[in-house]
Subunit: 445 residues, 2 copies
């Protein structure tokens, strides 16, 4: 009760755990320490033995078998498409898009679809330890509303297409609506906004030039599907005489806040452009495999010091939003592609899902590691279960083990959102009913 | 209470579920039906509406949001190595084996190590829906004992090496001990035995000839690491003038019960041999990726009607024993390797983890599908969670979704072993303590 004594700082929350993996600095694993939180911020980490002497915590949570780590950052997805999870699997890419995904979106996408799909996605992401996601979809205002309700952090990439869609009439209308939304929600500390030109083949040079003008003025990130398939690259060479990333470079669209999603097709010239402009690759291994798009050469990118972050892509091409699983597959694929079992070690995979994701989104001052002054976005994983034992190397276990299903607690900006596996800001039962209603609508036409 | 009425059969158990996926026949999904069990056998499947009219079930379990399917078959592993999960990750293959795994095994492998490691593995396998595993390790008698205690089904592949090890002095001693164990446990209905010559490079032609003699006489399966790496194949060509599978063919070691584990290196001649002898490939995608061994061309094998089953390999090279995850990775990798998103659909992956595994082990009359007369080895997966909703296609969701962590119930030969996520035959708390004790021993030397 001795608040405000000089040697005894009052803080909101202390969480003591068997291990703390702060991610920065790389390789550090703290044992028997406590993470100290005040308001929405991390104020420090101290040995458990010292906590009572130096701090008065309003709440002190003891997680004796758990590891604390930064919340994971899902750097690419389409949250509302969670309503189409498993709707059209195992089809050739063209049939999947032309006969299933696009007609269904055309028929059903609405503010309600987007809100309900985003809510289902956020529930799954929170339960598997993701605390920030980067999303590209129509009606981003609906996703924003659900994020606000759920307490979720997100970068919303408002889509820009040349063709009319349910949300906007034209590319100009996309830009207008996107920028208006950004202005309107400027005061929301959990939301940031980026231009989301869908892909080089759905956006004209004229629109790209406008986007370049805005990017220079507003210092906003740009998020784009790039070099997803060999066909895309071949088509670009045919139509524009250059690879898509060369075209973006000429249009002044590359920079440290450019997020190149997928990038399965990579030449050394492509890597030079990424290096020159410090642009990021957002690697989505499950989606690339499921759509047979190709293999992103992750270790080659890491060797060239290209920033690689990870994303799940939408649930229609994955079908999970599980970032732990994405880390494992990213690390394993990188090893076989590099023909070296020591390529892309677990620590690199964990960085890709945390601090590298934060850097790619331009949010590294706020999130991506457990450091004093950063936002209190963190998760607890219970290591006591059979599938996580024994624990020789906690980072290795997090990446290669069964961590997603062992996430027990999640906080974003200091607010608890998952407690002993239970969602605090969302109603799991109502969510299931909404998902089933949409399924009935979509399949009964 | 009306037992033995002519129209009202008394049975031990009925489990009613939203969906039943029997796996055989392929593609069938039953809705609102009940699986009927008597003693250790499946006696039928009937619509839920009819169950009261035709059967008197001593116990009737209602799982309104769940799917029932055959228990998964993990066709390759080294269960005791679960005690080395994460002990030495992200190392080049040679250093991993020579500096970590082999010295540690040499120092620590004992009947107790094998028993405790097997128990930890079985706990994880049951919790993630595996009801039968094929295992190769020293002291198989210890694994057998734990299986008996746990109620787990297994094929124990007693290892055959030329060199002396903690369990046996020589290849002849391995064979003698293995066959004696088989004789001793002949009456155990859950255990079967196979020859486990470790690999072509650790077993001599003379020993292989003896094994061929026994195989012909005893009609037993043979389980062997084969074509795991390019180096193995190159070395064999150098030493024997032929690829390992050609050498096995000449030694009369191929047949329908030959289980070729890994097989990342595949020529059309290799495929012809597999076809001719109807031998099986046991594909372990995570292990092959983690050790950078290579990519098994699954769709090419399926196109050639080669039987492909799935295994996790040991936890030291995975690091999970999660067969759902193995199914997903197998299907996804197959798509990208085949450059077709419709390659290896979810149904094929599910077959590889069930009926194909049963066929590979020669157990297809007993397990691998939910058919009357087969053993009651089955599992329930709860589809009501956010990460499994909505359910357009239940098989797709099982393979590509988050099923492992949603396994709620497991039965083997009609005996319940997992009930509402709780292990019934094993003590989870004691297991954790054993795992931690071994970790301390192994790291404190």
């Amino acid at each position: 009760m001795s608040q405000n004594q000089p040697e005894n700082h009052t803080i909101d929350l202390a969480v003591s755990a068997r291990w703390i993996v702060p991610v920065v600095p790389r390789g550090r694993v703290l044992e028997f320490c406590s993470l100290l939180i005040n308001d929405d911020c991390i104020v420090g980490i101290c040995p458990q033995a010292e906590i009572g002497k130096r701090y008065h915590a309003q709440q002190h949570l003891q997680l004796a078998d758990s590891v604390l780590l930064p919340g994971l950052i899902n750097a690419h997805g389409h949250a509302p498409m969670t309503l189409l999870r498993g709707y059209a699997d195992d089809l050739p890419l063209e049939s999947w898009l032309n006969n299933y995904i696009w007609p269904t979106e055309q028929r059903w996408v609405s503010p309600e679809f987007v809100a309900d799909g985003s809510e289902l996605a956020i529930a799954e992401m929170l339960q598997s330890g993701t605390t920030c996601f980067s999303d590209m979809y129509f009606f981003p205002e609906s996703t924003a509303e659900v994020c606000h309700k759920a307490g979720m952090r997100a970068q919303l990439n408002f889509p820009v297409f040349e063709f009319a869609n349910a949300w906007a009439d034209s590319a100009d209308d996309c830009i207008h609506k996107g920028l208006s939304l950004r202005d309107e929600l400027r005061s929301n500390p959990l939301l940031s906004f980026a231009f989301g030109p869908h892909a080089p083949y759905t956006v004209s040079d004229a629109t790209f030039r406008k986007i370049a003008t805005y990017l220079a003025e507003l210092q906003m990130p740009m998020h784009i599907h790039l070099h997803e398939t060999a066909q895309e690259v071949a088509d670009s060479i045919k139509e524009h005489g250059e690879r898509p990333i060369e075209r973006l470079a000429k249009l002044d669209l590359l920079g440290p806040l450019t997020q190149c999603v997928h990038f399965t097709q990579v030449t050394s010239q492509d890597i030079e452009l990424l290096q020159t402009w410090q642009s990021s690759v957002i690697h989505c291994p499950h989606s690339n495999l499921k759509l047979a798009s190709g293999f992103t050469p992750v270790q080659k990118l890491l060797n060239a010091n290209v920033r690689v972050a990870l994303g799940t892509d939408g649930a229609a091409s994955n079908n999970s939003l599980n970032m732990f699983s994405e880390m494992k597959t990213a690390a394993l694929l990188a090893k076989t592609l590099a023909e070296r079992a020591d390529a892309c070690p677990a620590e690199s995979a964990l960085e890709m899902a945390t601090i590298k994701g934060a850097e790619a989104l331009g949010l590294e001052a706020l999130i991506g590691s457990l450091e004093p002054g950063k936002q209190a976005d963190f998760i607890a994983v219970d290591m006591s279960h059979a599938d996580m034992q024994p624990v020789y190397d906690v980072v290795s276990q997090l990446v290669y083990g069964a961590a997603a299903s062992r996430v027990s607690h999640v906080w974003i900006a200091g607010r608890p959102l998952l407690e002993n596996n239970r969602l605090l800001s969302l109603d799991a039962q109502a969510l299931k009913q909404k998902a089933q209603l949409w399924q009935q609508k979509i399949t009964q036409r």
